[in-house]
C-alpha cells in the first residue's frame, strides 16, 4: 500500500471523519526515515487509546507504531487483553481472533501474504501480553519460532494478567503476592528470552520502553531481521501501574528503576550471526546513501 490507497475522493472529502483526513494529510506511510521523532509533528497511527491514564503500554504503542519501517505494508496480530483495547484505534490492519493463538494466526497470515504477494514486502508483527505469549499461548509462540516463521513477536511484559484484574502470570516475579498467588508466586519468572534463543530466534531484546530512541532501534532491527532471516522476539517491560500500586505519573520511573544494571529489565540483546551480517549490510548501505546524498548537495 502507498499513501495513494488512502487518498479520499474529492467529492467525499468533507464527509470523511477529521481524523481520517488528518491521516491522509499528515501520516508517515511510505516515509523511509520515519521514527519516534515524528511523534508530535505528524499524524500518529494510533488515534487514541482506551488504557488507564499514564499506562506505559500506551507509550510503547506510540513508539512501536512510529518505528515500524514499513507500516503501509505491515499487518499486526494481537491477542486478548489490554492491547486489544488499543488495536481498534490503530491505522494498520490488525487481527484479533482468540486469546493466546497470536503466533499461530501470524504464521498463517505471513504465509498467505507470501503466497499472494511473492514480489512484495509484507511485514507481520505480533504484539501481545505476557499471559498470551508465555502462558496460554506458549506452545504456539515456541512452535512458530521452531518453524522459523518470518515475523516479529513483541511481548508487553507487565508481569501479570492486567486486563482481568492482576492475576499471577508466568512472567511475574517469584514471591509477588497477587490474585491467584495468595501466598506469593512460588516459582521464578519464566526466562523466555533465553528460551527464545534456544528456539531459534535471530534477534532478541529484553528492555523497558523508557527510551523512545531505543524502542525505535530494536523494533526496526526486529522487523528487518524477521523479514529477511527468521523469527525475532522483543520482551518489553510495560508495568501495570494500577496493579503494582503506582500513580499515573510514576510509570516512567518504575521502568527506569527496573532497567538498572542487574535488575530484571537491564538491556539485553542477542543477535544471531546471520542477523549481525544483515545489520552490518544495512548500516553500510545507509552510510553509502548518506554519502551519496551529501555529494549530491555539494
Amino acid at each position: 500500500m502507498s499513501k495513494e490507497r488512502i487518498t479520499i475522493s474529492p467529492d467525499l472529502y468533507d464527509i470523511m471523519p477529521p481524523d481520517y483526513q488528518d491521516l491522509v494529510k499528515h501520516a508517515t506511510y511510505g516515509k523511509e526515515d520515519r521514527g519516534w521523532k515524528d511523534i508530535g509533528t505528524s499524524k500518529e497511527l494510533l488515534e487514541q487509546h482506551s488504557l488507564c491514564a499514564g499506562c506505559p503500554e500506551s507509550m510503547a504503542f506510540r513508539y512501536i507504531l512510529a518505528a515500524l519501517p514499513n507500516p503501509e505494508d505491515t499487518v499486526m496480530v494481537g491477542s486478548t487483553g489490554c492491547t486489544s483495547l488499543v488495536f481498534p484505534h490503530v491505522a494498520i490492519h490488525n487481527i484479533h481472533s482468540l486469546f493466546g493463538n497470536q503466533n499461530a494466526v501470524a504464521s498463517g497470515l505471513k504465509r498467505a501474504l507470501t503466497v499472494r504477494f511473492p514480489n512484495r514486502i509484507k511485514d507481520v508483527v505480533v504484539l501481545a501480553g505476557d499471559g498470551a505469549t508465555v502462558d496460554i499461548g506458549l506452545d504456539m509462540t515456541l512452535q512458530a519460532w521452531f518453524r522459523q516463521e518470518k515475523f516479529t513477536t513483541i511481548c508487553f511484559d507487565n508481569e501479570l494478567y492486567a486486563n482481568t484484574g492482576g492475576q499471577e502470570s508466568g512472567l511475574m516475579q517469584k514471591g509477588f503476592v497477587a490474585k491467584m498467588a495468595p501466598v506469593g508466586k512460588l516459582f521464578d519468572k519464566v526466562r523466555l528470552p533465553e528460551i527464545a534463543r534456544e528456539s531459534g530466534c535471530h534477534y532478541i531484546v529484553n528492555c523497558t520502553v523508557s527510551k523512545p530512541s531505543l524502542v525505535e532501534r530494536v523494533v526496526r532491527n526486529a522487523v528487518l531481521i524477521a523479514r529477511e532471516i527468521g523469527p525475532t522476539y522483543l520482551q518489553l517491560y510495560t508495568p501495570c501501574i494500577l496493579e503494582i500500586g503506582k500513580d499515573s505519573q510514576e510509570g516512567l520511573q518504575e521502568m527506569r528503576d527496573a532497567e538498572k544494571p542487574n535488575e530484571r529489565f537491564a538491556f539485553k540483546e542477542y543477535v544471531s550471526e546471520p542477523a549481525k551480517a544483515l545489520l552490518a549490510d544495512l548500516a553500510a548501505k545507509a552510510k553509502d546513501k548518506k554519502a551519496a546524498a551529501k555529494q549530491l548537495v555539494s
Binding site: R5, V90, S97, V105
Partner: protein
C-alpha cells in the same frame, strides 16, 4: 470500459481456470476407483487452494498427508504441519484473514480441541473449508467412526454439510468453496463425512478433468476487509466494544451474531443450485420414511431394499445440509408420513432431536436405531426398528433372547 476475465487463463500449476458451472456440470467426467482420502486429494488438486495446514489424527491423516503431495507437486501455494488442532485452525484463520483460500481436515478429538476457533471463523467471516472425518470423542480412547462431533459443529455458525459417499465428497469440496465464498455468505464450511466408512473404503467416483480448476478466491469480494493493507486501514471503532457494558455494545454483538446466522440462511439459494436441493427424496408418498444423513442414508437404502422384498414400501429423505437446516423441505417431504425412522451413528441422536424441534406431530418420529463407538449399522436393525414401529413381529436379528 474494458473488462477482463480470468476464465480461460492458467493458474500456478498451468491448470485452466474454468467457469465452475462448466467444470462441475458440463465437463466430461472420468470414473476412477479411489479411497475417500484419495478423493479428497483429487478435489483439492482442482480447487486452486492457497494454503493448507495439516495435523495427524485418525482417520483424516492420510488425506492430510496426500494434500502435502499436492503441495510438493505445486498445486497448493503453501502447506505445513501445525502443532495441534487448536493451532492449526488458528493458522487457517490467519491465512484466511490474509486473503488466502484455505483448506484443512480434522476428526473427532481434533474437532473438539479446535472448537474455540469455529465460532471465531464464522464471526470473522472466514470462508475456510474444514473436512471433518467424524470419529468417536469419548473416553476410553476410540478411533472408530461416530458422528457425535457434528452436534457441536451445528451450533458454531459454520455451514455444516454431511456427505454420504465419496462422490458427494468430491463434488461438495469444490462446490463448497463456491457457496461459502459468495459475498452474501462468506462463512466457513464444515464438510463432514463418517470416518473410515467414507475415508478408508474404495468407491468409483466420477472426476472432473485434471487440467481444469476453480477460479481463485477473490478476497476483495469479502463483506469484511481483508487484512493485507491493500485497502484503507480504517479504524474499526472509536471505542472497543469488548470493554463497554452498555446497550450499544450489546446491540452490536447481538446484531452481528444474528447476521452470521442470517448469512448461513442466505447460503440456501446458492446451495440449492449447486447441490440440487438441501435434501434428496425417494418415494416420499410412502407411509413410512427413513430420514438420515451421512452413511446412515446408505444403510437406509439397503433396509428399504430388504423391506421391499417383504412387500413393505418405505421412502427415503437424505439430508445434505445440516446448516442451513432444510426445515421447509423436510416439512414438505414428511407431510404424508406416519412413521419417521431416524437411524444415526451417535449415542445422543442429534438428528432426531433436530427433526423433533422442526416437524409437526413429533410422535411420528422414531429416534433410532442408533449405533455408536465404531459399531456398524446393519440394515437389518433398521428393518427391525421399522417393523417394531409398525407393531409387527420381527425375527430378523438373532441372539437377542426375544
Amino acid at each position: 470500459m474494458d473488462t477482463t476475465s480470468i476464465i480461460g487463463t492458467k493458474n500456478r500449476k498451468e491448470q485452466i481456470i474454468t467457469d465452475p458451472r462448466v467444470m462441475m456440470n458440463d465437463a466430461p467426467r472420468t470414473p476412477s476407483f479411489f479411497t475417500g482420502s484419495e478423493v479428497i486429494k483429487e478435489a483439492v488438486r482442482r480447487a486452486n487452494v492457497d494454503v493448507m495446514v495439516a495435523y495427524p489424527i485418525t482417520p483424516q491423516s492420510e488425506a492430510a498427508a496426500l494434500c502435502g503431495e499436492l503441495f510438493a507437486e505445486g498445486y497448493i501455494g503453501d502447506y505445513f504441519r501445525g502443532e495441534s488442532e487448536f493451532a492449526v485452525m488458528s493458522q487457517c484463520a490467519g491465512a484466511a484473514f490474509g486473503g488466502a483460500r484455505v483448506f484443512t481436515t480434522t476428526a473427532g478429538p481434533g474437532t473438539l480441541r479446535a472448537m474455540e476457533n469455529f465460532p471465531m471463523w464464522a464471526g470473522a467471516r472466514l470462508p475456510i473449508q474444514c473436512i471433518v472425518t467424524c470419529r468417536g470423542i469419548n473416553s476410553p480412547l476410540s478411533i472408530q467412526p461416530d458422528t457425535i462431533e457434528i452436534a457441536y459443529l451445528m451450533q458454531t455458525g459454520m455451514l455444516v454439510w454431511h456427505a454420504e459417499t465419496a462422490q458427494d465428497f468430491y463434488d461438495w469440496i469444490l462446490k463448497g468453496y463456491m457457496v461459502s465464498e459468495e459475498p452474501d455468505v462468506h462463512l466457513p464450511l464444515a464438510l463432514c463425512c463418517d470416518g473410515f466408512f467414507v475415508t478408508h473404503t474404495k468407491d468409483t467416483v466420477d472426476l472432473t478433468p485434471v487440467e481444469m480448476c476453480l477460479p481463485p478466491y477473490d478476497p476483495y469480494r469479502s463483506p469484511v476487509p481483508c487484512m493485507d493493507m491493500e485497502c484503507p486501514p480504517v479504524r474499526m471503532m472509536r471505542d472497543p466494544f469488548v470493554m463497554k457494558s452498555n446497550y450499544i455494545s450489546y446491540a452490536t454483538h447481538a446484531s452481528w451474531q444474528q447476521e452470521v446466522w442470517a448469512a448461513a440462511e442466505r447460503s440456501r439459494k446458492h446451495t440449492i443450485a449447486w447441490l440440487d436441493g438441501l435434501i434428496e427424496t425417494e418415494n416420499v408418498d410412502a407411509d413410512i420414511l427413513i430420514v438420515a444423513s451421512g452413511t446412515a442414508v446408505s444403510q437406509g437404502r439397503e433396509a428399504i431394499r430388504l423391506l421391499a422384498d417383504e412387500g413393505i414400501r418405505v421412502g427415503l429423505v437424505k439430508i445434505k445440509t445440516l446448516r442451513p437446516w432444510p426445515e421447509e423441505e423436510l416439512r414438505e417431504a414428511t407431510k404424508r408420513a406416519s412413521h419417521i425412522i431416524v437411524p444415526e451413528f451417535n449415542v445422543i441422536g442429534w438428528l432426531a432431536r433436530e427433526l423433533k424441534a422442526t416437524l409437526p406431530r413429533t410422535e411420528r418420529i422414531i429416534a433410532g436405531p442408533r449405533v455408536c463407538g465404531g459399531m456398524t449399522m446393519p440394515p437389518e436393525i433398521i428393518v427391525e426398528g421399522i417393523k417394531k414401529a409398525l407393531g409387527m413381529r420381527s425375527g430378523v436379528l438373532a441372539g437377542r433372547g426375544s
